[in-house]
């Protein structure tokens, strides 16, 4: 499941405990890539929010973690996917404080603020995929190319 470098991985998200593994993996991968402490903490926190959404709202799924390199700048891309109910109204879901369950409603909007790139693909009945990326230094030509 993991390459020799330990950066790439596909981790299941089906329980509380899996959230712990996701956080630990992202922490270690970010540290290995050279992310500073604050940048690591932001990325791990975003991953924790998104993985919990995959578990709680999406009914379980997985996270893929992959190192990326754009114009010599290294980064980490995380993809959270599930085949749950999907999100009908993305704007509403991203709004701070909106929750359909008993959360604080800060996860999606908060995660978006904590990473350099954020993309969400969801349709009712088909599931949800959230892809985020952060870069070790300032993001190269942000929000272009995917």
């Amino acid at each position: 499941m993991q390459t020799a470098g330990g950066l790439s991985a596909c981790l299941p998200i089906t329980s509380d405990l899996d959230l712990v593994w996701v956080r630990q993996h992202v922490r270690q991968a970010a540290a290995q890539l050279g992310f500073g402490l604050v940048a690591q903490t932001k990325l791990v926190t975003a991953a924790s929010e998104l993985a919990r959404n995959t578990l709680v709202h999406g009914g379980g799924g997985q996270m893929e973690c992959a190192p990326v390199n754009r114009g010599g700048v290294r980064g980490l891309r995380l993809t959270f996917s599930d085949e749950g109910p999907g999100i009908a109204d993305l704007d509403q879901a991203l709004r701070d404080g909106y929750t359909s369950a008993e959360g604080l409603g800060m996860g999606l909007g908060g995660a978006r603020r904590l990473v350099h790139e954020f993309d969400i693909d969801s349709s009712p009945g088909r599931g949800t995929t959230v892809t985020v990326a952060s870069w070790v230094s300032a993001p190269p030509r942000p929000r272009e190319e995917r």
């Binding site: 630990q24 270690q28 932001k42 904590l114």
Partner: protein
């Protein structure tokens, strides 16, 4: 991952009593279930005994997400009903910076740089060498 074996905190978080204050020390990466259990344990301990404050030592915690944030806020809300105050101590700078960006405000939580400062903030209780109770009467 080079031999680093994660040790998720699946067990219980001890709730210590020092004088009139409950001291909870969080370490490492908490399971959601452990965090929820903690919330219950603190409420029960606070209701059982007359306490005037709860100190939550976060110095060993590497991230606070909205789940743990809600648990902390709920502990503060419950203890406030019992006329006690909650102080979060020793939050790492990286965690504090991240919380702000995440958008969490943690209503009802005071913060202190260290457990000692938190105990001073709550007034009265302080740690003596044997964790005994020290009364500080106002003159």
């Amino acid at each position: 991952m080079t031999g680093l074996s994660p040790s998720p905190y699946g067990g219980q978080v001890p709730v210590l009593r020092i004088g009139d204050v409950l001291l909870v020390t969080l370490q490492g990466d908490l399971h959601d279930g452990t965090a929820e259990q903690l919330q219950q344990d603190v409420s029960e301990a606070a209701a059982d005994s007359r306490v005037n404050g709860v100190v939550i030592d976060l110095s060993g915690v590497e991230i606070v997400d909205s789940f743990l944030g809600r648990v902390l806020a709920d502990i503060a809300a419950k203890t406030r009903l019992l006329a006690a105050e909650t102080v979060v101590a020793g939050m790492r700078p990286a965690v504090a910076i991240t919380l702000v960006e995440l958008g969490l405000t943690l209503p009802g939580l005071r913060t202190a740089l260290s457990t000692e400062e938190a105990l001073r903030l709550l007034g009265g209780a302080s740690i003596s060498p044997r964790y005994g109770r020290t009364r500080q009467e106002s003159p």
